[in-house]
């Protein structure tokens, strides 16, 4: 089983609230947005492998597929395939608000060169691909990183 399909399976089980699988642990992603004063932001959470290749999507905040092309990093990686976020889609996040997501992620994702990316986009405002890029390492867990434009800070914890 490739990492990618394994992730996708995980993503679906998360959405359907299936019991956690073996070798998987709950990971919490906390994102706080700045008060950038605009419409709610679309956020795409996805993972690339050690060679920089797209490995899978974790979460999509924002329901309207028509706007996904403005999440340009994610869009390039997936070719805009909305199927990649099937079942792991939620509402867009308002200016100054925060988003907490809990996912069951396989342990194999950590300390193996994978990186988590977050792309952000807001209507009528600058697109912000790779707003956050953070290697998925044990050392980075619980560490707060700052975003550039829309995301004030982001933390993942296992």
């Amino acid at each position: 089983m490739t990492i990618r399909s394994f992730l996708a399976a995980l993503a679906v089980t998360t959405a359907l609230s299936f019991p956690a699988l073996a070798h998987a642990g709950q990971v919490k992603l906390s994102t706080n947005l700045r008060d950038y004063g605009g419409n709610p932001a679309f956020l795409a959470y996805y993972v690339t492998d050690a060679s920089g290749k797209y490995a899978g999507s974790l979460w999509m905040a924002g329901g309207r597929t028509r706007y996904y092309r403005h999440l340009s990093g994610w869009y390039q990686a997936t070719g805009g395939n909305a199927g990649e976020v099937n079942g792991v889609t939620g509402a867009s996040v308002g200016s100054g608000r925060s988003l907490d997501i809990s996912l069951d992620l396989t342990d194999a994702l950590f300390d193996a060169g994978y990186q988590l990316h977050i792309d952000a986009a807001v209507e009528d405002m600058r697109e912000s691909p790779d707003e956050i890029v953070i290697p998925l390492t044990s050392a980075n867990a619980g560490k707060t990183v700052q975003g550039r434009r829309y995301i004030a800070d982001f933390t993942f914890s296992r």
Partner: protein, 733 residues
């Protein structure tokens, strides 16, 4: 059917539409202010622009050009992201690039009422209602005007609210239809019901790997003029594998940062272009003038809501609310009317009949069922017609039913038509009913008669005939909501005709003073033009009498010609009025009876006091439009009204020709006779697009129409055709 669709859509959607329209109007101002702020970037290439901005703000990540021409740069100040308007000439910051909170608030209100998708659907339903209202409204106006070809003619008939409603809606129609169609398109596009735009190009697999090249020299960027730019994203700082991403009106592509080569491109497809056009058409972004036009059109929506509601309320007032049941009444009054004014007349008749001891039922003409009229011995049919002479919607199908119905023994009919003589098919529907009644052999209470433009005098006259026929004492004082009157003082009078027992006077009345406040607010005695009517309420009556004005408010006085009728209440009081005395009066507009504002000839035909408005037209003819007056009166030395002025006006070029017929002179002649004698010139004037205005007694007007029918016959024109073009108007009494 169309009418009730229009009405119910309007009532239900009014508040939503007003909200959408007002927010839309407010939003239409933003593209205009943007366009004013936008500097010219003509003949500049994207390479130069990018180089200038990069020099001014080295951390720049993206440059965008709005359709208005405003260029925004996104960069960092320390850690804080900034968006700023830049001047393309220098690349330097020229203002804040953030969208204002007010604009965002209005946008979200306008498109989704802050209710996300639910709100978008509600707003789209609003747009759909607007579209349906516009289309049903267009059909209603066309029906009223007498066909789609007459759509642009001035509105005639109906209550003032309805007329305003129709006039304003015609002006706003194109804007409202464009706004609602584009709104529906945009909603459909948002919900993904329309084809997708072109996909982004494949990200290049390899790049040159060079960095730090002077932006101004990059060939692919030099090839793009700033005017077609949508956005340019810079490669990430320090990432040699990244590229420039450029979006233009033509498509989207990647440019190598090392050598400036275009290394990926996809053309914008039809959907992209259509979407961009629709958004521009809806928002006015990049087409500020159109945006403002749409904004102004949208302003009409609240106005249309209010006038529509007023017209509806006026129409509903007094619809047979107090009438007896049809099987218990001795008189059945049936109304066939699209608007509501005829119902008011029916109500006046009902009240008068009840006062005379009769029992009366008032109902719609569609409810005509003689077999249920157990006690009735007469049915009074009041039918109104405006426009092309068709039956009003509530009476559709009545004629066919009526024609198939057996005559009921002991039941007599009276048919009264309501209409407007300025239309070609005056009282057409009522005439059809009368023809069927005659054909079927229905006995009549009294002959078919008509009421012109809701004239209370016509109605009172008909009432006298009815009361004579029925042997009842009826007085039909029909007062439509009493108008606000003003006091006018008689300043001078000129008397004519005393020796022929035809006391006629030209009365000049001083207009009430208007305070500065009244001038500013448009309150006080309204402005008027020659040909409008002045309503005068004589002492001892509630019923106003109307006289045609021989002056405009511009002249600074109100002038009328009055002839004393034997036993006439109002004419008696007016002709015995002494200077300094005051009368109560109000103005009623008569907009279809006046010269058209063009250079075509005007043929003025009048007899007796009918010269009044015609003299007023000549007096106001400052621009020397060719006007020919044909005037009939009794004797040159007795009642040649305005004789002094006519010669002067002719000398000044206000009148191109004056011919007068005297019926009591040595060679008696009527106005018809001088028309006949001048047939060649009349024919030439009419062929040149001339307009005919006739004022005077009804018989004279009928005689004139006869003569002109003959004159027109040779050229293939008809009076009905001229009327339909607004080129033949009568003011008769």
């Amino acid at each position: 059917m169309i009418r009730s669709l229009h009405r119910w859509f309007g009532l239900v959607a009014a508040l939503l539409l007003i909200l959408l329209a007002l927010s839309g109007t407010a939003l239409s101002l933003f593209p205009a202010t943007d366009a004013l702020k936008a500097p010219s970037a003509a003949s500049l290439s994207v390479a130069e622009l990018a180089a200038r901005v990069k020099a001014a703000e080295p951390s720049v990540e993206q440059i965008r050009r709005a359709p208005s021409g405003l260029i925004t740069a996104f960069y960092f100040k320390g850690d804080a992201p900034v968006s700023a308007i830049v001047d393309p000439a220098t690349g330097k910051v020229a203002g804040n690039g953030d969208q204002s909170a007010l604009q965002r608030f209005l946008t979200n209100l306008h498109r989704s009422l802050f209710l996300d998708d639910t709100g978008r659907i509600i707003a789209a339903a609003g747009a759909l209602s607007m579209l349906l209202l516009a289309i049903t409204g267009l059909f209603l106006i066309a029906r009223r005007a007498g066909g789609f070809r007459q759509l642009l003619k001035p509105m005639r008939g109906g209550s003032s609210a309805t007329r305003l409603h129709a006039t304003v809606s015609r002006l706003a129609f194109p804007g409202l239809v464009l706004s609602s169609l584009t709104a529906l398109w945009m909603t459909a596009s948002t919900f993904g019901y329309l084809p997708d735009g072109a996909a982004s190009p494949e990200f290049p697999a390899s790049v040159s790997g060079a960095t730090g090249i002077d932006l101004a020299t990059l060939p692919a960027l030099k090839a793009i003029p700033v005017d077609s730019l949508q956005s340019l994203s810079f490669p990430a700082e320090g990432d040699a594998t990244d590229v420039f991403t450029v979006k233009t009106d033509q498509g989207e592509g990647y440019i190598d940062q090392g050598n400036g080569a275009l290394i990926g491109w996809s053309d914008a497809n039809f959907a992209d272009k259509a979407n961009r056009l629709v958004i521009a058409l809806h928002t006015g972004r990049g087409m500020a003038w159109l945006g403002l036009l749409l904004g102004v059109s949208a302003l009409a929506v609240p106005f249309l809501g209010v006038t529509g509601l007023m017209g509806y309320a006026q129409g509903r007032r007094g619809r047979g609310a107090r009438s007896k049941a049809a099987n218990k009444a001795s008189t059945i009054i049936l109304v066939g009317s699209e608007g509501g004014t005829t119902w008011g007349f029916a109500e006046t008749l009902r009240a008068a009949l009840e006062a005379a001891g009769e029992t009366a039922h008032v109902g719609a003409v569609s409810g005509f069922s003689p077999e249920t009229y157990a006690k009735a011995n007469r049915v009074i049919l009041m039918a109104s017609t405006y426009g092309d002479g068709e039956a009003p919607a509530p009476a559709a199908g009545f004629l066919a039913r009526f024609a198939a119905m057996p005559v009921k023994h002991g039941l007599k009919l009276a048919i009264l038509g309501f209409g407007d003589r300025s239309f070609a098919h005056y009282c057409g529907f009522a005439k059809d009913i009368a023809a069927v009644a005659q054909q079927r052999g229905w006995p009549l209470v009294l002959p078919f008669d008509t009421i012109d433009r809701q004239s209370p005098q016509d109605f009172a006259r008909w009432g006298r005939e009815l009361s004579a026929a029925l042997g009842l004492a009826l007085e039909l004082n029909h007062v439509q909501s009493p108008p606000k009157t003003f006091g006018l003082t008689l300043t001078s009078r000129r008397d004519y005709g005393a020796s022929l027992q035809a006391n006629t006077a030209i009365l000049r009345l001083q207009l009430p003073e208007r305070s500065l406040w009244q001038r500013l607010t448009g309150a006080g005695f309204p402005a008027f033009e020659a040909g409008d009517l002045i309503g005068i309420i004589p002492e001892g009556s509630e019923l106003p009498r109307y006289y045609s004005l021989a002056s405009g408010s511009r002249d600074g006085f109100a002038e009328i010609c009055v002839r004393k009728h034997p036993g006439g209440l109002c004419s008696g009081q007016l002709t015995s009025l002494e200077p300094g005395a005051e009368i109560r009066a109000f103005i009623r507009k008569n907009p279809h009876f006046r010269p058209q504002a063009n250079r075509r000839p005007v043929i003025l035909i009048g007899a007796g006091t009918g010269i009044g408005p015609l003299a007023g037209f000549a007096r106001a003819n400052d621009c020397h439009q060719p006007m020919y007056l044909y005037f009939g009166t009794r004797h040159p030395s007795v009642d040649a009204l305005y004789a002094e002025e006519l010669a002067g006006w002719q000398a000044e070029g206000r009148l191109s020709g004056v011919q007068t017929a005297f019926s009591r002179a040595t060679n008696p002649a009527y106005v018809q006779d001088i028309l006949k004698a001048d047939a060649a010139r009349l024919s030439r004037l009419l062929a040149a697009g001339g307009q005919v205005l006739v004022c005077g007694g009804r018989e004279m007007a009928a005689g004139v129409a006869q003569v002109l029918t003959d004159v027109l016959a040779a050229s293939g024109l008809t009076i009905a055709g001229l009327k339909a073009e607004g080129r033949y108007a009568e003011d008769v009494y």
